[in-house]
């Protein structure tokens, strides 16, 4: 097990180092093969580790690699924790990553920095695995920041485009604000429990003061809002769509952005100590899910719709965490990774066929030209819309059922979001694949053609997973499936009696009705048009004026403040005071400077002579 875990983690790093050292001598194919192979192998080993863990009686294996930092009472080993949660994460992270690596070989063909792209991608997988496999918060933070910096590099991949460069920077800085939350959570835990390894923190969590526990939970939530793009730090994610589409699929949909949810789930024993903290989490999640869904209805860029959809879906996961339904959060996380990666890669295939166009108003009628992209995308669309029997229906249903038990108000918000989700996804589907062909200008009249097999194969695999993913955790085998497997890792949350079977069927029916309602509305509106200001509100298109508000409340005062510092405090106040204080010295020095030989020179000469004498004396004496 120890060797397996180490290899799972190190293979992507090995791929990175190999390409870094030998890349100049390697062709595109070789680079792609090495990078994809390393991650694929890591996935295969994760599967092996999964079965090995199933056979293990303790299901909690710590693998010590080396001691990283050790000062006083602070001991931070580089050590891994293999348990059901981390193995589940590493399975889907490596699996999806391998597929997207494969896809990228086709998508990135002929790009200027092809090699660098795969370098970043492998480094990203390594960081993501560090994040999920770490046995302590500090090492998780290493991965946490590592994925952040890879995201920065990959978003600003087309660095000669100003919008891409700015988007990368924005992503990094928003994430950093969240990171302060994770830092503070660590500081709080360390100063009260004197340890940062997960298992010892959980063992000692009972000794935490309730106020401290709530502060820790809120700090963790801040961290999660940064990384997982939740209110109030959600608006970097849509900008991050400036990155190449495989990056959007891998980092900004399937894996990295769910890290915040993972962190909260991982810390569930601490979450269990603060009901007000969990209520805040649930509220933030439900609000984000709803707000982002409203915004998604009015975006025209296909990737922006998907980006806001991701924000909204992660909102569901956060809601689930707050409601104490940790396995539902992970269930949705895994299914979402399947269908959202599918949708992004599918949209990438569409964009590829239209020479880079992302505006849905210039698409339409593509179904007959993309024989593989179309049916797989159709599956993705039905899955995210919550139509049974696809994975999304089961996973979202699991979340909403738990939300219903937790708070009726948040459940209503969740159902409204479900209607909106079906609506905006159907709008996207109709505008892209149905209706009139509006792309002829882009393709100069030619017909768009399907992508190569390296791109369509991942689509087929992901579509299959989206169809079958619900099988991970069907309601009637709840305890023999994902929930049962993960259960022991979660902190105890007192819960009332679960919903009755009748309630479950009723709630499921509501979900289906919500999905159909959204679908019908979208078809009614968008079958016959490609834009309409009545259904695309400026308020929504401009993201509830969120960026403008931050500009006015934070950026402008900051600029004004630094302006005052540069023009007034620095030269007038400080220099003025100092030169006033040191006035005598200064005047005499300046007076003396006017004498040609200069006070400084004489001083210097005297000092040098003096020290030479001392040194000669010394050498004589010591020698």
């Amino acid at each position: 097990m120890a060797h397996l875990a180490t290899l799972i983690l190190l293979l992507p790093l090995a791929g990175f180092l190999f390409v870094l050292v030998n890349g100049k001598r390697m062709g595109e194919r070789a680079v792609g093969a090495v990078a994809t192979g390393a991650v694929g192998l890591s996935f295969a080993l994760s599967v092996a580790a999964f079965f090995s863990l199933l056979g293990d009686s303790s299901r909690e294996v710590t693998v010590h690699l080396f001691t990283w930092i050790s000062v006083g009472t602070l001991h931070v080993p580089a050590a891994l924790l293999m348990d059901p949660l981390s193995i589940t994460m590493s399975l889907f992270v490596t699996g999806i990553s391998a597929l997207i690596h494969l896809y990228s070989i086709g998508y990135m063909h002929g790009e200027r920095d092809f090699r660098k792209f795969f370098l970043y991608l492998n480094l990203f997988v390594f960081s993501m695995l560090t994040l999920v496999l770490a046995n302590n918060l500090v090492l998780t933070f290493v991965g946490w920041e590592g994925v952040g910096v890879c995201s920065y590099w990959l978003v600003s991949y087309y660095f000669d485009r100003d919008s891409a460069a700015s988007a990368g920077k924005k992503a990094f800085i928003y994430n950093r604000v969240g990171d302060v939350g994770l830092l503070v959570a660590m500081f709080l835990l360390f100063s009260h429990l004197h340890t940062l390894s997960y298992l010892s923190v959980f063992a000692g969590a009972g000794h935490l003061d309730p106020t401290v526990a709530t502060l820790v939970v809120l700090a963790l939530l801040l961290a999660a809002t940064g990384k997982s793009a939740q209110i109030p730090l959600f608006n970097w994610l849509p900008d991050a769509m400036e990155g190449p589409t495989p990056v959007s699929a891998l980092i900004h949909a399937a894996t990295m952005v769910t890290a915040g949810v993972y962190l909260l789930v991982r810390m569930s024993p601490v979450l269990a100590l603060s009901s007000s903290g969990r209520a805040t989490i649930a509220t933030i999640g439900a609000l984000t899910a709803f707000v982002a869904a409203t915004i998604a209805t009015s975006q025209r860029d296909i990737k922006k719709v998907l980006a806001f959809s991701t924000v909204s879906q992660i909102g569901y996961m956060v809601l689930a965490v707050g409601a104490g339904a940790y396995s539902a959060a992970i269930f949705l996380m895994v299914s979402h990774a399947f269908f959202k990666a599918l949708l992004f890669l599918g949209s990438g295939s569409v964009i590829h066929s239209l020479h880079g166009e992302q505006d849905m108003r210039k698409m339409g009628g593509l179904s007959k030209y993309l024989p593989l992209t179309f049916p797989t995308f159709l599956i993705g669309w039905l899955t995210i819309s919550g139509v049974p029997p696809f994975a999304g229906f089961w996973a979202k249903g699991d979340v909403l059922t738990n939300a219903y038990g937790y708070s009726k108000l948040l459940w209503v918000l969740g159902v409204l979001t479900a209607v909106l989700t079906a609506y905006y996804m159907s709008r996207l589907f109709v505008l892209t694949f149905r209706g009139t062909e509006r792309f002829r200008e882009l393709t100069h009249g030619a017909e768009p053609h399907e992508s190569p097999w390296v791109m369509t194969l991942p689509l087929v695999v992901l579509a299959a997973l989206s169809v079958l993913g619900g099988g991970l955790d069907l309601p009637w085998v709840h305890h023999a499936s994902l929930a049962g497997f993960l259960g022991p890792t979660f902190g105890y949350v007192a819960s009332g009696p679960g919903p009755t079977t009748a309630t479950q069927y009723a709630l499921g029916t509501v979900d289906v009705i919500a999905a159909l309602l959204g679908l019908a509305a979208a078809f009614a509106v968008w079958r016959s048009r490609s834009e309409d200001p009545r259904f695309e509100r400026r308020f929504l298109e401009r993201v509830w004026f969120w960026d403008d508000a931050y500009d006015a409340v934070i950026a402008t005062p900051l600029r004004a403040g630094t302006e005052v510092a540069t023009t007034l405090i620095e030269p007038r106040v400080i220099d003025g005071a100092v030169s006033g204080l040191a006035g005598g010295v200064r005047r005499s020095a300046e007076g003396l400077r006017k004498v040609q030989s200069g006070f400084v020179r004489h001083y210097a000469l005297a000092m040098v002579l003096g020290v030479s004498v001392i040194v000669v004396y010394l050498v004589a004496r010591v020698g």
């Binding site: 000669d160 800085i173 830092l183 500081f187 620095e570």
Partner: protein, 497 residues
Amino acid sequence: MHSSLWLSLLLILPLLGAALAGLVRARANASYRVGVAVASLETVLALVVAVLYRSNVPGAGTFDFMGRWVLAAPFGLAYDVALDGISLLMVVLTALVVLVALFGARDTRREGAFVAWLLLLTSFTMGSFLAHDLLEFFIFFELTLVPAYFIVSQWGAAQRARAALKFFVFTFTGSAFLFVGLLYLGLAHQHQTGGALTFSYSALQSTAMSSSTATWLFVAFAIAFAVKSPIWPLHTWSPLAYAEAPTAGSIELSALLAKLGSYGLLRFAVGLLPLAQVHVRPVMLTLAVIGIVYGSALATTTPDLKRLVAYSSLAQMGFITLGVMTGSKIAMVGAVLLMFNHGVITAGFFLIIGFMERRRGVGVSIRDLSGWQGPAPVLAGLFTVVMMASIGLPGLSGFVSEYLILIGAFATHAWWAVVGALGVVLAALYLLWAYQRVFHGRTSEPIEDATTSERWALVPIVALIVVLGVFPRPVLDRISPSVQQVIEHVAPAGVSK
């Protein structure tokens, strides 16, 4: 205990090198070769000392290589050297930085004199870090001013005269306070013991005094060290001096001379005046976090890359001061590590800015640059590594030190640590902004990528950034016992109040 001869050698080698470089200045390249050879030898010597160092010498605590000779008894003047885990790190930094500066920031104008001043500066800096005697430390501390002044005023940019003078006046004025303070302390000690006048570090540590005397002495010491570091608000000489100095001068000023300030604060102000802690701690911590926020905020607006690094250094020195002053062992170990890491990182920054000036002329404004990543990807990559280390990306060296400071400070002074943690966001803000302006975007100019020798100059820097980020243990293990010794001396007084 090892012989103090090792340390004397560290002191004398660059002195001889300076003399030799001056003598051979007429021959082309000769003084440059002398400089690089001497600096390499000095680096090897420093590393040998680092390997030999033992932190458990009987009777000397964590000090090794001790040796003391009284030179002029009536004045209390002595040559007294010793090395502990803290000064060890500074010694290695001193040798390494001068090597990198000489090799990577070569200045061929009157090269003999330039090399001689740099080596002289190395020797004086070594002396300051090795001194185990307050007066001796002061003399070396003052002596460093001379070569630094000439390097800035003779080889600097357009406003070099003004920059050098401002630097000199600030530092010299600050030192006056230190001088008065140390005389008072020495005389007080003599008065108590009735023996000879001495400034020996271990002797002065046992000086009895009231806490108000200690506080006044601390203030006097701290002014000198605050100017040198710099600590807000005595920093205003530094942006000008860093910007106007030649590249090697900026490196020496920010990577080394600044550390004399924080080293002095830790060793002498904190180490000799434990009774002052209770009174000065809140003030010093507040100045430290103001420095972090203020320096970072100003770094976001300046269009000059060297000034940006200067303001960034103000913020970093704020972190160091925070670590030194909290009284937490973890934070103090972090502060000592950050002294080293900041030295390495900032040397990297100024080297790369120097490379950019070679291509675009002195006084590079961020506003005039764009798109360098296209034609110069290696240069961009090297800058990225240094930048990420400075931002505190885990896995690189800056993170370990910053993290230790903040987590240590949080346990004793939570709010200061939280404000300090905001510096983590701000650092990303100004550095990524600068990176975007310089390296992202487009350019039509043919910019030459990093040359082979430029790459070599950055190899030790990048290597240290990565190695100390992943495997800081050997260094931490050497710092910890010495910091423990300082804490043990300070803590009882701090607690009893």
